[in-house]
């Protein structure tokens, strides 16, 4: 990564604000210099992580929430989504392929493969007290991962 200034934004999200948070992520991505299509991609991947936080067995089903933290630099947009709830089956999920049987997705299950497909790097950590942490990284301005 190049040497650059990093800004961090933290948002607490609820279901009612979901569309506003999506729009904000899109706007922030555009401000970082990506084009509309790339902003769409970042918005969608982050939305999937937030969606999982809200709907995948949250610790408080009556009032599910998540925290979205965005780290912005000239080389990458890193989004971290935290929520309390059931663990995600992150690492065992098969990568998405157009050759697979799509019937498997008739009732969901496409969110994690979609995040992995859309972003450059995706990590999941399960922490104490039912805390899920999903980190999504998109490199921008033609920055590549180290080693590429």
């Amino acid at each position: 990564m190049s040497e650059d200034v990093e800004y961090t934004i933290v948002i607490t999200g609820f279901q009612e604000q979901f569309h506003r948070i999506r729009n904000l992520v899109h706007f922030i991505a555009l401000q970082q210099g990506v084009d509309e299509q790339e902003a769409d991609i970042i918005e969608r991947a982050v939305a999937e992580a937030c969606h999982n936080a809200l709907f995948h067995e949250p610790a408080d089903p009556g009032d599910p929430s998540f925290e979205l933290e965005m780290h912005l630099s000239d080389s990458a947009i890193k989004s971290v989504v935290r929520n309390r709830g059931a663990a995600f089956d992150f690492d065992d999920v098969e990568p998405f392929s157009v050759d697979q049987d799509f019937m498997a997705y008739s009732e969901g299950g496409l969110g994690i493969p979609m995040m992995k497909r859309l972003m450059d790097e995706v990590y999941y950590e399960r922490k104490p007290e039912e805390l899920n942490v999903v980190t999504l990284i998109k490199y921008i301005n033609d920055q590549k991962k180290e080693g590429d």
Partner: protein, 115 residues
């Protein structure tokens, strides 16, 4: 999400509106399509021009619906996908899975051309 149904000859047009995501009835699409198949309505155009947002749940419902229709000898075509929907199809390499058209009429005509 709402589903409005209309017909043009042997083609069924499903106009979706609202948000296709968990908790917004997007899971109703696949059962709806399976019901059409039982009535031998196997040519379906899904008009997405009024879809405000669709999540992976909505995409999964579309994929399963297309698979069911193709297994029955029919097909599902997309009309009026928004830019955000097109971005997802492109990034997920689904442009070969979902034939998309700028208008409902073009999507309906494409079925007639393939007969």
């Amino acid at each position: 999400m709402r589903i409005n149904e209309s017909t043009e000859g042997d083609v069924t047009i499903l106009t979706l509106s609202g948000k296709m995501m968990h908790g917004n009835e997007s899971s109703e699409l696949h059962p709806y399509v399976k019901n059409l198949i039982e009535k031998d309505r196997i040519k379906v155009v899904v008009d997405m021009g009024k879809v405000k947002w669709f999540s992976s749940t909505g995409l999964g419902a579309l994929l399963a619906s297309a698979t069911s229709l193709r297994n029955a000898g029919g097909d599902l075509k997309i009309a009026r996908p928004t830019r955000k929907i097109q971005s997802v199809f492109f990034m997920m390499e689904l442009t070969s899975v979902f034939e998309s058209f700028e208008s409902v009429d073009e999507a309906v005509e494409s079925f007639q051309e393939s007969d």
